[in-house]
Amino acid sequence: MNYQQIIPVTEARPILGSLLDTLDSNNVIGLTKGGRVVGVVVSPNYLDMLQTNTKKVLAKTFIDETTRPYIREFSDEEIKEWLKEDALVS
């Protein structure tokens, strides 16, 4: 991730208004806590562009954003059961 600026949350809090004024439409400000970036500030236009592009990419795959949480990993046990049930000659 390329940040326009990285700043501790404690320093950002009192100057948030002026930080937002400096925010470019394509840039990201990183907010740190304990030395790690824990949040970001982006412009509404930039967020909109990210979400639109994500939708375009997902449309080219078989992934459905709505149902993605229900895509799961099969257990070895259920696969074994399926193969047993699927066999045409027992």
Binding site: T61, F62, I63, D64, E65, T66, T67, R68, P69, Y70, I71, R72, E73, F74, D76, E78, I79, E81, W82, L83, E85, D86, A87, L88
Partner: protein
């Protein structure tokens, strides 16, 4: 073999993830046989993008790389419905079955199939699911093969 028809048209089946995954794994099982009938255009077989996404994930995690071309080959004989799952229908389906399977019920209904084919006897082949899916039947590959061979 003649075309396997339901009335005056070909029988239309929806495969859930268990069936597509088993067809990838085993070339001699009932699931693979159903897809071979689709290849011969005796029946119509449809899967949803949710089914494909789930099977892709599990082929990647559970099987060797050599199974990838087989999955691609099998998919080339199937109709893939890319419609996004309707949220209201999904909520209704969740009243009869757990979320992971509710997605499949909604997808099968939307695809206007004659039969939902599944190997998941524990969750899918239950009276409440049969009732919810009417007039769509819910059957195992073995059952649908027997039924279609008898009709023929």
């Amino acid at each position: 073999m003649k075309k396997l028809k339901s009335g005056s048209r070909k029988t239309r089946l929806f495969l859930d993830s268990s069936v597509l995954f088993s067809a990838v794994w085993s070339m001699t099982g009932g699931s693979a046989k159903i897809i071979s009938w689709a290849q011969e255009k005796k029946i119509e077989v449809v899967v949803s993008k949710n089914v494909v996404a789930e099977v892709e994930k599990n082929v990647g995690n559970k099987l060797d790389e050599i199974y990838w071309p087989r999955l691609e080959n099998l998919l080339s004989f199937l109709e893939i419905d890319r419609t996004t799952t309707d949220r209201d229908e999904f909520e209704k389906a969740k009243e009869v079955i757990i979320s992971k399977d509710a997605v499949i019920l909604v997808d099968a209904k939307r695809c206007q199939v004659d039969v939902l084919v599944t190997l998941d006897k524990k969750d899918m082949l239950q009276p409440k699911v049969h009732k919810f899916m009417r007039p769509i039947k819910v059957m195992t590959p073995k059952e649908i093969i027997e039924m279609l061979e008898k009709q023929n």
